[in-house]
Symmetry: C2
Amino acid sequence: MLPTARVDYIAPWWTYWLHNFPHVNLRFQPVNKSFNPQDDNYQQSLIFLVCVAAAGLGLNLLFLAIYLSCLCCCRKEEEEETKRPNSCCVTWTAVTAGLICCAAVGVGFYGNSETNDGVYQLTYSLYNANHTLGGVDSLVSGTMDSMQRGLKQHLERLDEIFATRGDYIQTLRFMQQMADNVIVQLTGLPEWGQTRVDLAATAVQISYVEYYRWLSYLLLLILDLVICLVACLGLAKQSRWLLTTMMVFGVLTLILSWASLGADTATAVGTSDFCVAPDKFIMNMTHNEISTDIVHYYLYCSQSMPNPFQQALTIFQRSLTTMQIQIQGLLQFSVPIFPTAEKDLLGIQRLLNSSESSLHQLTALLDCRGLHKDYLDALIGVCYDGVEGLLYLSLFSLLAALAFCAMLCAIPRAWRHFASRDREYDDIDEEDPFNPQARRIAAHNPTRGQMHSFC
Amino acid sequence: MLPTARVDYIAPWWTYWLHNFPHVNLRFQPVNKSFNPQDDNYQQSLIFLVCVAAAGLGLNLLFLAIYLSCLCCCRKEEEEETKRPNSCCVTWTAVTAGLICCAAVGVGFYGNSETNDGVYQLTYSLYNANHTLGGVDSLVSGTMDSMQRGLKQHLERLDEIFATRGDYIQTLRFMQQMADNVIVQLTGLPEWGQTRVDLAATAVQISYVEYYRWLSYLLLLILDLVICLVACLGLAKQSRWLLTTMMVFGVLTLILSWASLGADTATAVGTSDFCVAPDKFIMNMTHNEISTDIVHYYLYCSQSMPNPFQQALTIFQRSLTTMQIQIQGLLQFSVPIFPTAEKDLLGIQRLLNSSESSLHQLTALLDCRGLHKDYLDALIGVCYDGVEGLLYLSLFSLLAALAFCAMLCAIPRAWRHFASRDREYDDIDEEDPFNPQARRIAAHNPTRGQMHSFC
C-alpha cells in the first residue's frame, strides 16, 4: 500500500521519555512539566539538570584525584610486585579509551549534523511562513490600493461623463458601495505585520545561536580527536612532555564534556516539554495577538473546521462579480451614447480582473494547508532531528567523558611503567610482544604466548 | 537584512562541474549532454564512466601485481642491505593507511547520510504532491457528486411542490442550468489520476532502491572499518593468518571501492545533467499527458503568469453566487406560500455553502505555490543533498581504494620484516622503539633517537 504523506504530527517517543525526567527547582520542589520558558520555577528545573551534570563532573574529578593520589602513595609497595600485568592493562586501557573516543567523535559528528538539520528546517519553515504572511499583506494592501485610488480616479471621470444620466450615476454609486464593501472585508482580515516581525526576528536569532552552537561542537569534536590521537602517539613514542600536555588537555576536555552533557540534557528536556504539547504553548503565546479561531484553524487545519476567512472572501468575490456585471452592462449600453467612457470602463474591468486574480491568490495563501505544513515541518525538524541530535550529542559527551577518564587513569600508569623500564633497562622484557626475544620464547611456549594475547 | 525564503531554484556549482564531464558513448563519439535516460547513446555515456572506473581498477590491480612480484623477486638482493628504514616505513605506511581508511569511512558515513536525506526529501515531496493532487480529485468528484445527485433530488421534490407556479419552476430550471455550468467547468479541470499513479509509483520505486543503496553502503563502510582495524591488529600482533585473511578481504574491498566509485560517478553525472535543466526534462516528459500551460504554471509559478484555472474557478464561483441569490429569493417569497418547500430550499443552501467551501479549498490546492514548493524541495533534495552526498561517497571510494592499496603494499613488506626478524632473533633491533635496549641507546645518543622519531 502507498504510504500517505504525513498530515499530522505525533511527538516521537524520546520526547515523552525526556519529558518524564524529574522537573525540580533549586529548592528541590517538583515543578509543572509544561513548557513555559518565562516561568522562574521552570527555568530553575532546567538549571537543576545542568547542576546535576556539574555534580557528576565534581564526583568524576574527585575520583580521579583519589585514584592519582593512591597511585602516587602506593608506588613503593606495588613496585615490589611483578609489573607485567600492569603494562598490558595500560596498553589495553589506552586502546579502549582511544576506540571509545573515536566512537564518541563519530556519534558527536552525526548528532551535531542532525541537530543542525533540525534547526535549519525550523528556520526554513519560519522564513516560509513569513513569506506567506508577507504575500497576504502585499496582496491585501495592493488590492485595497487599487480599489481606493485606481477605482476612484475612473469613477470620478465617469461621473463627469455621465453627469446628464441619473441611472448611470446611480450604477456608479452602487459600484462605489461594492468597492467600499471589499475594502471593509479586507480591513477585517488580520494584520500580520507584528507576527511577521516576530517570526523573522525569531528565525534570525535561532540561526545565529545555532551557527555558534554548531561551530563550538565542531571545534570540541576536533579537539577531542586531536587529543586522543596525540595521546596515543605520546604513549607509542613514550614521550613525556606530550603525555603531560595531554593530561592537562584531557582534564580540560573532561570538564567541557560534562558541561556539554549538562547543556544538551537541559536543552533536550526543555525542547521535549515543548514537543509533547506544542499547540497548547502556541495558543498561550498568541492569545493576546491573534484570534483563537484563526490560530486553531492553522494549528489543526482539519477538513471539518470552518475557514475563518470564508465569509470575507465570499463577500469579496460577490462584490467583484456584481461590479463586473454592472461594468458589462455599462459597456453594452452607455458606450454607444458616451464613446469617451469606454477607456475608463475598460480600465475598471482590467482592475476587477486583476483583483479577481489577487482574490484567488489570497484564498490560496490564507488557506491553512500552506502554513500548517510549515508548522508541521518545523515541529518535525525540531522534535525529530533536533532532539534526536541532542541525544546523540549527550551520548557523545558521556562517551568522551568516559574515554578521557580512562585515558587520565592510564597515562600516569604508563608513565610509571616507562620509569620502571628505564630503571630496569637491563632486564629485557620477556612478555613484550615487540621484543624479538620474547617472540622467540612465546613461539617455543605457545600456551604463554596465547595467554598474553588475551590479557 | 532578513534573508528571504528560497523562492527559486539555482543549480549548485557542483552539478555544472559534473555536467561538464565528457559524455562519450561506447564507440567514443561525443554525445548530447542533456538528461535523457531513454536514449541509448546517453545511457552508454554513463556506462562509459563506469568502464573508466573499471579500467582504473584494472590498472590498480596490475600495479599491485607488479609490485608484489618485484617484492618477491628482489627479496635476495634487498636482504643484504640494512632492513631498518624498511621496518619504519612499513609502520608509517600502515598507520597512514589506517588513518586514511578511518577518514574515508567518516566521509562515507556523512555522504551516505546526505544522499539518504536528499532522496528522502524527494520522496516526501512526491508524496506531498500526490496528496495535493488527490485532494483536488476528491474535491472535484465530491462537488460534482453533490451538484449532480444531491441537487437533483432537492430540485425534483421542489418541482413537485411548486408544480402550480410557472415562475418558480423557471427559477428551478435556471438553477439546474447553473449547476450544469459548474459541472462543465469541473469536468474541464485536468484529471490527475494517471499523474498520481505515476508519482506514487515513482516514489515507491525510489524509496525501495534508496533503502538497498543505503544499506549496501552501510555494510561496505562497516566492512572497510573492520578490515582496517583487524589489519592493524594483525600488524601489531604480527599474526600471519590475520594478515593473509585481510589481504584477501583487502583485494575484495579494493574491487568494491572501484565499483562504487564508478557507480557513484555515473549516478552523480546523470543526476547533475538533470539538475542543470530540470524544467526542460519535465516539459518533455509530460507534453503528451498534461497541457503545456499547466506544466509551465506549476514549474515557474511567477506572479505575472495567468492561472490556467482562473476562468473555471470564476465561473464556478459566479454560478454558486447566482444560485445562492435565487435560493434566498425563493426562501423569502415561496416559503410563506409553500411551507413544505423550506426543508429542500435549506438543503440546497447548505449544499451551496459546502460547495463554496470546497471551491475555496480547490482554489488553494490548484494554486501553484503548494506544488511549486514541493517541486523546489524535491529539486533541492536531489541536487543539493543528493549529489553532494554522491560526491562524498565518490571521495570515500577513492580514499578507501588508496588506503587499501597502501595496505596491500605494506602487509607483504611487514610479513617479510617479521620473517627476517624471526630468522635474526638474536640480533636485537637497536632502533625498535619498543625495545628497552634501543631506548637506552637512544637516550645516550639523542641525535639518533630524534632522527628515529621522525623517520
